[in-house]
Amino acid sequence: MTSSLRFRAAVVSIVLFAAFLGIWHLATRPTAAAHNMSPEYAKLMGLTATQGKSAMPGPLDVGAKLWEHLRQPFYDNGPNDKGLGIQLGYSIARVALGYFLAVIVAIPLGFLIGMSPLISKALDPFIQVLKPISPLAWMPLALYTIKDSSISAIFVIFICSVWPMLLNTAFGVAAVRKEWINVARTLEVGTVRRAFTVILPAAAPTILTGMRISIGIAWLVIVAAEMLVGGTGIGYFVWNEWNNLSITNVIIAILLIGIVGMLLDQILARFTRMVTFPE
């Protein structure tokens, strides 16, 4: 029953994808070439004008280019010409670093906020004000104080991924069932051991949910951040190819950004499933 549903869903997905490719192909098909055009102008405009070729690449162009990239993902021909694998690698490394720092800060701090009503109340106004600030708004300040574009990007990732983790950890810790705490209390379990053996496992699903939201936001923000700071990374690649007017490469980059984002989300989803307990 469910397997047949899954099978039918897969068929529908494939049909939809094929239809999308078909429409795309038809829409970008070369139209009748323009006739009465001065030769100089035609030369200037290239194939787009002379043969009625669409400025938007078709699926076949993108496919061919993608194959080219996939065969050589890690080449490095200087600052403006690096393989897509390298660019993605830079982005992933920045996200990983900023995200890791955010985990180190947010989870212990979230524990503190969740366990102490005093700290929770004291920090609340700061969190309320800092949370809605767009992470990119920090960029100039970061560039000015840190004076390094790459570290600034990492800082921006840190700042955008810290909030969901912090709030979810604090909420998860504060919402641990009283009776589980009471079990630990009647067993004379010390605070540290209680935090690790009762509160952490009880709050883990909520914490992981926060971490999953964070990785999504971090991956959204890294593209924008790299467009701003430049140099390396998939965001920079998109911007650079736009400047080169290579829409094919831009489309490929968009596709890869989506796929990497999905993979990151799936990894976190798997971790979430690992710590989730049925009640």
Partner: protein, 308 residues
Amino acid sequence: MTDKFISIEAIARRYPGADGKETTVFEDLWLSMGRGEFGCVIGHSGCGKTTVLNILAGLDQPSEGAVIVDGQAIEGTSLDRAVIFQSHALLPWRTVLGNVAYAVTSKWRNWDRAKVKAHAQTFIDLVGLTGSEHKRPSELSGGMKQRVGIARALSITPKIMLMDEPFSALDALTRGTLQDEVRRICLETGQTAFMITHDVDEAIYLADKIFLMTNGPGAVLAEIVENPLPKDRGRIDLHRHPYYYALRNHIVDFLVSRSKTFASDVTDHDPRNVPVVRPGKPELVIASGPGDSEQASWPGLSRPSTSS
């Protein structure tokens, strides 16, 4: 009461209520139990039974007064006082064995894995869960979960077991089996037990002493009923015992009528010296005939004697 193993002395519990006034759940409450005794508290919902038990467990502090266990005023929770929670309170991310082992390692921190496991296994076997060690609480029935709770409480070999309506969420059949087990274990190990229940028969079967509490707010311990049934009573033929109905009627009467009106009826109630009652033979009730006053219609009932 020759030796007071547990002695609750003049405790009160107040909560800050609305409009700045305090609500007093109870005050000046005295209660004591001897070593190895099984005490049951009966009273209407909201009278403060859980509050007393939580104070005894150390999970809650009294606003006034003190609790003395084994000659020492208690401060907070202790591994000597195990609690069996109404909602079983198992840690759902641990297996049956894991839950019991958690208690064992909390008591004996330097035991190695094998020793902890063997010890936990003993108590899992004791409550009849052999074979389910590696199941998670979500895979167990309500009765099995409660058994794990009992195994966990027993595994730390406490001096006192505190139970807050441990079987109220179970079906009658499972409840009966668990009552048998708890009684057997308590008799075998000489446990001192303090249990809250709404089930009169459960109290009659298990308890040596039944504490009757009046309705709150401002609940008082009205009476201590001593169970006249023999120690070797069985659950099945409980109702055949000649004292059974006298005892049961006495408790039910209290719950139905006297628990409401107690405060206005009894003006000279001394919370330090709560009357101890021992309901007697039902035949004598019939012999006395009608027309007597209420007190006189229960000649088998020994006069409320005071204890110290």
